[in-house]
Symmetry: C2
Subunit: 737 residues, 2 copies
Amino acid sequence: MLNVLKKISLLFFLFFAFSHQSRSQHPVSFFTKEESLLVRSNLNTQPLLNESFQALKKETDFWLNKEVDVPLPKDPAGGYTHEKHKANYLLMFNSGVLYNITGEQKYADLVRNILLKYATLNPTLKNHPQATSTSPGRIFWQALNDANWMVYSGMAFDLVYNGLNEADRKIIEEGAFKPEVDFVTKDLSPWFNLIHNHAVWATAGVGMIGIATNNQTYIDLALEGTQHNGSSGFYALLDHLFSPDGYYTEGPYYTRYALLPFIIFSNALNNKYPSKNIFTYRNSILKKAINTAIQYSNTDGKFFAFNDAMKDKDYTTGEMVMALDIYTKAYGLDTTFLPIAKKQHNLLLTKSGIQLAEALNNPKNKSVVFPYKTIENTDGAKGNKGGVSILRSGEGKELTSLIYKYTSHGLSHGHYDKLNINLFDKGNEILQDYGAARFVGVEQKYGGRYLPENTGFATQTIAHNTMVVDETSHFNGNEKIAEQFWPVKNYSNFKNEKVLAISVSDSNAYKNVILKRSLFMLTLPDQPKLIIDIFHTQSSKTHQYDLPFYYLGQFIHSSVEYTYAKNTMYPLGQKNGYQYLWKEGEAKVIDATVQMTFLNERDFYTISTLVTDTASILFARIGANDQNFNLRRDPAFIIRKNSTSPSFISVIEVHGKYDPVNEVTSNANSIVQKIQELENSSLFSVVKITLKTGELIVVECKNDNSTTSNHQYRYNNTDLIWKGPYLILLNGKNINY
Amino acid sequence: MLNVLKKISLLFFLFFAFSHQSRSQHPVSFFTKEESLLVRSNLNTQPLLNESFQALKKETDFWLNKEVDVPLPKDPAGGYTHEKHKANYLLMFNSGVLYNITGEQKYADLVRNILLKYATLNPTLKNHPQATSTSPGRIFWQALNDANWMVYSGMAFDLVYNGLNEADRKIIEEGAFKPEVDFVTKDLSPWFNLIHNHAVWATAGVGMIGIATNNQTYIDLALEGTQHNGSSGFYALLDHLFSPDGYYTEGPYYTRYALLPFIIFSNALNNKYPSKNIFTYRNSILKKAINTAIQYSNTDGKFFAFNDAMKDKDYTTGEMVMALDIYTKAYGLDTTFLPIAKKQHNLLLTKSGIQLAEALNNPKNKSVVFPYKTIENTDGAKGNKGGVSILRSGEGKELTSLIYKYTSHGLSHGHYDKLNINLFDKGNEILQDYGAARFVGVEQKYGGRYLPENTGFATQTIAHNTMVVDETSHFNGNEKIAEQFWPVKNYSNFKNEKVLAISVSDSNAYKNVILKRSLFMLTLPDQPKLIIDIFHTQSSKTHQYDLPFYYLGQFIHSSVEYTYAKNTMYPLGQKNGYQYLWKEGEAKVIDATVQMTFLNERDFYTISTLVTDTASILFARIGANDQNFNLRRDPAFIIRKNSTSPSFISVIEVHGKYDPVNEVTSNANSIVQKIQELENSSLFSVVKITLKTGELIVVECKNDNSTTSNHQYRYNNTDLIWKGPYLILLNGKNINY
């Protein structure tokens, strides 16, 4: 009997314990009560933590005892109602955090009052009057922003759960949240089930509201999608949006954006269900994703702007502050991130925020430079859809980064830019990717949306530093087709950091044309850094091949005699982005090593390129037909060849110094004297580059990428013998090994 | 007898003492032996001083025991021989400084070896093969650089004087120095006697060699010119190149350059002849000049780039390091300069260098911002040739500076830009002066010389933010005529820093056209900063009036419907700089308040301008006919009116915030709703500006600039009564007093 009673009481205990945990433990979405108390007790000893707390408090206190407007949705991004609703969800979240740290009811009341207004507003909403996309929003012009609202409002509700009475909770759950959840999971279910960054936000939003309101149905919808068959939902998104090594398929700009709902919801999920081990899911895919995201930034913190991307976005954004915090919580402190945390100068008010604050105070951690390194990522959920390589040389301010992109299309934000390269040096963008044509949040610019020039120009192949055949974009600019193909890497070798090598081919961007681009980044002693760019084409018919270099900086000199657009200027073409380029100058060249030198800040850069037979050199500038001045007036240097299978062999050189303050210039001239193509057969490609300081020979095997095959080539009455797909000789000496 | 002996011995003593001082006291040009020993003893206690010492030592030690090349002059600026000779004189100077501080003979030997090579080279030289100017050089392409060489080599000789034997001294004096002195004082005597920055260098060079070699003839030549009649030479240059309040007539860029020989030679002269009191000469004109120079810089340290000027020149240049050091020596420590010394992070190895180092270490001197203020300078030796006013509002990063230029022409480096304005805000240039078209020291760009586009475009009126009548430049672009005239200030009033006012008229830039521009810079509570720009014209004939605004930033929006250059683009005109502008767009406007908003970094700026009757709005871009890509592709917004005496009434507004990192935009729209000209009679000009937040009325008296006259104007059935040349009402309230 005693035993039975014991059992029963144990069952009761378990029942209550479990029900308490699953039904009532709040907060749990952002942090737990214990964590919030730990933060409170550390405020006085951690100055940076306190600074972040005071900033949050100042912002939030401004609204205490004020009517917060919850306006009828009307304006596009940048407009009043858009910005207000955005400010509201952030305010609610912040106030919720403060409620737990300070224990003061007024912060809960602030959230309550706003959420009650949404509970009145939301049930009345139809599609937003400014909705233009296929996924219209209700509170905002697009559903994506509604999903943002759900994530933060959900967290806010959870954070002040214990400060609300049952009746208010019910009103808010039914009025503020249910219409939004129903809208995205029912009206917009195809969108909700997408494999796309929007869906990450949408599932995280629904899941967060589920956790906040103890609604298991919502949580399941979030994790599994509406079809519950593994094809959609949060897990499916973790499975499909990242490659196995953590590359996010839409590119670095959207990584940052998509990471936030991934980690913020994973954090909530982990707090509620630690046993789900979400942070180790798929071999700790989120750990890899965060590491990768940061490697895809310039030394100034800005994310590399390929695909649709705003160039001024850097790792000090709220998303990345959140990422570093939750990374620390999930995977432990990684001191290599401290230089980034230092630049962010903003900590979350969490346990890991305290950890970061302590680490930043520790004099041992004074290293001020994040260890950028040469890395290579695959693309695609299985890692079999091409990839990206970032070749790096130098350290700190002297870092040079060459980005070579041979990914899959990158969903709806992809550009038609197979085999594109971008160059960063000394913190500056040197050969640019245009990024996106958009002014996020600037109402006067098309409501802050993507501008027509984005598809018209920025996504087109001619807007990139890669080959355009016959003035048409890759895959004819058709996204559906582009999604099905990706380039194939022939080889890459980064063992010798002074001689980085990679080669990739593409045979799908154009029908019946094979493109192959091999890049060698050489850091030779006492020499300018050299990037050898061997771009082969192969076709059976004559085509017009255009290879642009979008250089940033002041044109200094070109070796060619060109005709400048004197009293009239015309666009370079009529379609596929060409209509947006003015033709400023043109040169006809026969058999020559053409050079063009430009100055970016205090460094000179020269592109030397071989012309065999004839070519045109075009000096173009963005801006033609740009009725609304939406595009930057940046220049391009374009090499045009009309032939069946021309080679484009170029050397990109980082040289010299211009010191305008002290008026001293050094090494303003290129060391490249001549480029020759000695052979381009089915077996070998052989290039000779004559420098002022010596001679470089690059031999590539055309049909054997094995790293173990032995090869032999006769040059200058000597038999060159080597192993692997390529050989680089400097003054007769193999410098690869 | 005893007395006689005493007298004789006294005479002997005096003779030796005097001869010792006048003939043999070395060093004296840069510092004295005592000073150098003081530096030595402070190296261990002053880290920044030691850092500067180590940097100097490292640079110099590299050349010890090496053959230093003294090549036959051949190349233009930026080329090898040019850069080498420049490096040589700096090396000799540095080595001379080190010789005294360390006492090590090797540094004297280094100077000796190089100077002996010059002693062989210089007597053989004819005019430089690249000489193109009317003042050809011998070691360099222009005599100016030879003068630089004389200043530094002279100092170097003096610094190692005691480490040379008599024979070497003689060889150097005769071989290295005499040919150069003879060349500039005899062959180039008209140039040597000019009132111009070149002559400052030339006189300082000859004088420095005089001091170094104890040659009184040279010193006299330097001080008095070759005619010895007060019309030329160093004193005459001090008299004529600065206004009484210290404005240097060529503008800030050349101030910095001309200041160096002024202060460096004054320092030497003062060391040798303290009784000449050169530093208090002309009411301490050099003190005023240095103070003024620094006020003419942006918060990032760059000098305002009006007249011929390179934009990247800032106050961290060697010249300004020297200026601050010698200022401190001559006038005592001024702690307001410490933020500048801190940014320079480079101290001279002198007694005042030690003083600055100590002051920088003192925690009391932690202020990090130089106190920029609203200032006004006259131009001309007597202060009667116009002037410049810099209207400032805000502090630190929020500083706004409006530069209003109404100087005389500014000698050969002047631009045709009467009544020009430039705007800086938050550290950025907002309404730009193009500066000079030149790449100093870049050989590929026309040998580093002024480019043809400098006279073709940069100096022309249309390259500035001021009025162009009938597509011709002021004074028809004739320097000789331009030199004879300057605008006349009507009034200015900076007593109320929230309402800064200035008005200037010009009746000479164009025959039979009077130009009058009044500017009011308003810093109203909780409002965007507003600059009211009332530009009146007066003529009896119809003219074409163009008022450009060279805005820097991204065009955001314009209220006008314009036609964009679609498939062809043409230059804006054929001559006087117009041929370098592309016409990107044009609008015909009737009776409207036209607005154009642009974004610079994170701030919005709007120009609102009144069109009464008709006007054209032109969207232009620099770059037409720019065969060698020498010009920046910057935009301009031009208001064109064809009429007899049109008014151009504009409001320039600093508003809003764009935060691309957090994607938040605020106040992106102008608060100006309407501009009206209520009256423009012979008595009054009355302008009404309707803001979202109220109404501004600006009444100006047309013919009475007295600050004491009483005026009355009937507006809105009320009699406005005020004293002085203008009245500004905000919502009916006089805000000026």
